[in-house]
Symmetry: C2
Subunit: 343 residues, 2 copies
DNA sequence: TTGTAAGCGTTATCAC
DNA sequence: GTGATAACGCTTACAA
């Protein structure tokens, strides 16, 4: 309005003119700086409102040398998990000046070596790495060397390379295994996710340890391979149940795969949990959608993302931080596990 | 490096110096402008690579008066749908300079009147409105008046207020109803989502019309209310099956609710589809996770988001556009529907 | 308590 | 083909 450019939004100069002050004063008002007389402040605010003025983020970013952009990198194929993650981060960012940029790394769109480059190009000030990205040594090294602030969710390696937020995966897997053992199961199958994914390995190892502690034998042919998707769980379940010596329980490293196992069981004419118990991990939405609902481990994904974002902002703003935040998990016993009924 | 500021990223000036050219030339190279001799271009590129130079988005945005930010507004509570939406938009933006900003509007975080303000504050250049946001007349009016480019996915009202992308909801609902009718069902329940959500209304109306056309009676007590969530479908299913005169088929306005209905059926000791058929809408991941898998309508959510984003970029860049893009839907007959077996 | 002036890293104008 | 130089809208010394 003040200048002829019809389309143009009002600038700080327009507000200064209209309020009869200087741009510096307007700037002060919009940055909540002290030393502005209340009435001056009001004049500025009124003018701004009348002009529908909003500070130009680009200009602000430029002069401060900051982008106010946070990158969330994830490669989890479960939409439930992803949305929890996003919501946690977004909620923490609410009311902050920061914006969230999404970097879905599925389908190798982002190869290991590319992450840093992507971060650079997009100009993010900091990064939240969701599992399993936080366990890629190459990526972690690059990030450390580039001195880009980053926080990892549920990493299992190089724990001091960055602040971390997570749960106790081993304890959780042990609790689940103990739960199955306590129901009388001895022949238990395990469906793992990506074996290169350390948290998966932790769950598997903890499963083995708990089995050993109970004097139960882990049969290697019952350790199946999946990749965290529902489909991979379905395939694994089919293989498991094709065996004559089928297990009486299956523990999958996440809910999506466990849901697949449940469907495979149904296909094979097996009742869950009558003929076979199935346990998952994550407490994602899908665990409540199967029938029966899945016994699982509640992972506070939302809270972890929230806490991770919180920690990231602290790093960026050079506030004191906690290097490792450990959140509570919870064993949720639902309908998919029970005592075995002989066929 | 060129300047003493240790942390600072290389700037266009650094590249110019190192390559023995001027900043204008560097700018030309990075904007693919013509009139740069190949060897000069190479010198610039080499210098940039050596300096790990990346153009500063803030400066670029400032001088061009553009933010390169696109806003995706949605309020759908289904993570599967949301992720499809995001992925479609993100994939279209890939390789473009634009970035995607997420605006989840659930839980009334964004009230109707606030959307415009949010868009202004965040400086987005354009907006993709996912259903049901595109049917809020207030929002649509505001956006039109503010002259902010926006595209709506699957709106049902004010179709010429903006470019739109969608499927033929009425035809889809009719096909599904006909499918159920063809299986011999006559007493069919319908679980609707938010009644204020026109696409829901369209589905319901089309259901009524198809029923009427087949001479089947729609029983009002069998029109149940949900809100698109799994839980609401579960609740609706429980109410439906509590009735002595239960229907032989249930048509839910989306998959999440249909999945809830399936679980309610199981709770009631009913076999699906033996005792009751259940149909959904969307072909979201959840439809493949239930057992049996859901008969549903494939909504190309990913493609719609992709096309909507594509249209939005066209609007922003003032390229010619198609005002209405209609994508194909598909009836997917899976295990959850079949002929009724008398109890 | 308020204002002036100097940049921030680009792109755009217009000479050369 | 190429290069000075002026914006872009804002924050931040530094004055007043």
């Amino acid at each position: 309005m003040a200048d002829g450019r019809g389309q143009g939004r009002a600038t700080i100069t327009d507000v200064a003119e209209r309020s009869g002050t200087s741009i510096k004063t307007v700037s002060r008002v919009f940055n909540d700086e002290p030393f502005v007389r209340p009435e001056t402040r009001k004049r500025v605010l009124d003018a701004a409102a009348a002009l529908d003025y909003h500070p130009n983020m680009a200009a602000r970013s430029l002069v401060r040398g900051r982008s106010f952009l946070i990158g969330l990198f994830y490669e989890n194929p479960s939409p439930n998990y992803v949305v929890d993650l996003q919501t946690g981060a977004l909620d923490r960012l609410h009311d902050e000046r920061y914006r969230l940029l999404l970097f879905p790394c599925e389908s190798a769109r982002v190869v290991s070596g590319k992450l840093l480059q992507l971060a650079r190009t997009s100009g993010v000030e900091g990064i939240v790495l969701a599992p399993p990205l936080g366990d890629d040594p190459h990526t972690v090294n690059e990030l450390v060397e580039a001195r880009i602030p980053f926080v990892r969710i549920a990493p299992t390696t190089a724990l001091d390379a960055s602040p971390t937020v997570g749960i106790d995966d081993r304890a959780a897997a042990r609790e689940m295994t103990d739960h199955l053992l306590s129901l009388g199961h001895r022949r238990i199958a395990f469906v793992q996710g990506d074996p290169a994914h350390p948290s998966n390995t932790q769950r598997l190892e903890s499963f083995r340890a708990a089995m050993a502690a109970a004097g139960a034998t882990v049969e290697e042919r019952l350790i199946e391979q999946g990749n965290y998707t529902f489909e991979s769980g379905l395939a694994a379940g089919r293989r498991i149940f094709a065996d004559r010596q089928r297990p009486t329980a299956v523990f999958a490293a996440n809910d999506d795969m466990a849901a697949g196992v449940v469907v495979a069981a149904k296909e094979a004419g097996l009742d869950v949990p009558g003929h076979v118990s199935v346990a998952g991990f994550d407490d994602s939405l899908i665990s409540r959608v199967t029938w029966p609902q899945l016994t699982t481990i509640h992972q506070p994904t939302y809270d972890m993302a929230h806490a991770a974002t919180d920690a990231l902002l602290a790093v960026i703003e050079k506030r004191p931080i906690k290097q490792a935040v450990r959140l509570e998990h919870q064993l949720l016993v639902r309908g998919s596990t029970g005592r075995t009924t002989p066929l």
